[in-house]
């Protein structure tokens, strides 16, 4: 057989990817349980031990492990190059799991001593090991695309976010910073949330949406514009908080960032309208919901930056903004895409060898639709209720939403387990 770029040959071992997914799925359950137990206390200023603990449990426990696993699958296939080393991510995962668990626990208890700094250091080593391995992988690729530019930019923002996070952890243990550390914390949060997750999702979305919806949108200028805007927004935000707090840098950051989001959403709707596959599945509906949360987060950011708000409303909308951005936008994409990626991986490794020998189900048939639908409604009902409960200071609504989100995490874990167990 002669082939012209069989991208699937570059894919890594199944267990490397599944180990990361498993950690993240457990993390989702643990995060949503912690949120349920503390739902009544999710209010006030964001700089509180258990709110910080919840945010880091969400990011480090749920969102990041799954993202890292997906990157190890996606980069080799999209960029047609094998992962530089498969040992490094295994070692990094071990360090990451220990570091993250210890870090979150100590942040939650506000135990900010040497052990806290050591945990943070473990996380730094693990994350930089991941980044170095993936960056070297990318360098070995000859594929040059807009998605590649997004991925590189996302990696840069993650590297900066991690470094800043470590500096902040040091400061919490042994105060040394001359400037208000809350300003740096905002920069850290946006580098990680908007810079890393945001750019990665945007860049990869162009490829995945085209693949799953069977749509080809040749014009890429909205994607280029979005990439520029997000980076300019983050630089402006950092300069505002670090160098010139009284300047208009925040306004520039918010307006330019919103323009970037608008350009991205515009490109997504063009891809959607050009799609061949008319019937959309539940994983796509998770992704569509995520884009709605992205728009809402953008609107909240504008309101927070440009509108005169009293302190109480400012605090509530800040928390709502963070919740809509992380569990809402990022979480929905991750859950939705895992409903595509995991079935495909199990199909590829277990069912594909039987293609041509006997009838095999399609990847989408490895999980029945009803449990997916239940999970979708529980998750998005929960996210909306929690966000509204935070914004409107309604504890009962937060509690109900948290119960729904926790239930959705259990159904999600059950769904992923059911897919994993499928055999020919």
């Amino acid at each position: 057989m002669t082939t012209a770029g069989l991208a699937s040959r570059y894919a890594p071992s199944l267990h490397l990817v599944l180990a990361h997914f498993a950690l993240g799925i457990v993390g989702f359950v643990v995060f949503s349980l912690a949120l349920l137990l503390r739902a009544l206390a999710v209010q006030g200023h964001f700089f509180q031990p258990q709110l910080l603990g919840l945010v880091h449990l969400c990011v480090l426990g749920w969102l990041l492990p799954i993202t890292l696993g997906a990157l190890h699958q996606l980069i080799p296939v999209v960029f047609e190059v094998k992962v530089r080393s498969e040992r490094v991510p295994w070692l990094a995962l071990a360090l990451y799991a220990v570091g993250a668990a210890s870090f979150i626990a100590q942040l939650w208890a506000f135990s900010l001593g040497s052990a806290f700094v050591a945990s943070a250091a473990l996380l730094v080593v693990a994350l930089y090991a991941y980044l170095a391995n993936l960056a070297l992988t990318l360098l070995g690729s000859r594929v040059r695309t807009l998605t590649g530019a997004y991925v590189v930019a996302a990696f840069c923002h993650l590297a900066l976010a991690v470094a800043l996070g470590f500096l902040l952890a040091l400061h919490l243990a042994w105060p040394y910073l001359a400037i208000d550390h809350l300003r740096l914390l905002r920069v850290h949060a946006h580098l990680a949330g908007f810079g890393f997750f945001g750019l990665l999702i945007m860049g990869v979305a162009y490829r995945l949406l085209e693949m799953f919806l069977i749509a080809y949108e040749k014009r890429t200028w909205p994607g280029v514009l979005a990439l520029i805007c997000v980076n300019v927004s983050l630089v402006s935000l950092a300069l505002h908080h670090v160098l010139a707090p009284g300047s208009h840098g925040l306004h520039v950051a918010v307006v330019v960032g919103a323009a970037g989001i608008a350009a991205f959403v515009f490109q997504v709707q063009r891809i959607y309208r050009a799609r061949i596959r008319r019937r959309t599945d539940l994983p796509w509906r998770h992704t569509a919901a995520s884009f709605c949360y992205l728009v809402v987060a953008g609107v909240l950011a504008i309101a927070l930056a440009l509108s005169p708000l009293d302190d109480a409303l400012q605090a509530r909308l800040s928390l709502a903004y963070g919740f809509v951005a992380l569990p809402g936008f990022v979480g929905s994409v991750i859950v939705g895409q895992l409903h595509k990626i995991l079935p495909f991986l199990i199909w590829f490794h277990r069912f594909a060898p039987y293609v041509g020998l006997r009838s095999v189900p399609a990847a989408s048939e490895l999980l029945a639709e009803p449990p997916q639908r239940v999970q979708w409604f529980l998750m998005h009902g929960g996210i909306v209720a929690i966000a509204l409960g935070i914004a409107l200071a309604q504890p009962a609504l937060r509690l109900a939403g948290a119960l729904s989100l926790f239930s959705s995490s259990l159904v999600f874990a059950r769904n992923m387990w059911a897919i994993y167990r499928r055999q020919p």
Binding site: M1, S8, R277, R279, F344, F348, A352, S364
Partner: protein
């Protein structure tokens, strides 16, 4: 067996190889560009493409084609070529494929 009969046999067999994402067979999806045969030697030459160069299921589809064709007694050898020239386009989808994708809904 004549060349025509062997080609028909091969094309019918290819209809049993699905695209894992859509579940539609690769013939109706328009992925099969060319089928040439030599009935005397039992050789089948198939040229296919994928919807995207980065299609993660490429290996699976290619392997499925070879396995399915080799189940036919009349087919002795299978030569499979994957190409992206020209790029696949939706116009190649058959009416049955279009119906499965809901393209005309």
């Amino acid at each position: 067996m004549t060349n025509q009969a062997l080609e028909e046999l091969a094309r019918a067999a290819l209809r049993e190889v699905p695209d894992p994402e859509t579940g539609i067979n690769i013939v109706d999806l328009g992925l099969v560009y060319e089928v040439k045969v030599d009935a005397q030697t039992g050789a089948v030459f198939v040229t296919i493409t994928f919807t995207s160069p980065a299609c993660p299921a490429g290996d699976a589809i290619a392997g499925g084609i070879e396995r399915r064709l080799q189940r036919e007694e009349a087919i002795k050898t299978v030569d499979l070529t994957v190409t992206f020239e020209p790029r696949w386009s939706p116009e190649r989808i058959s009416p049955e494929g279009r119906a499965s994708l809901g393209m005309d809904d």
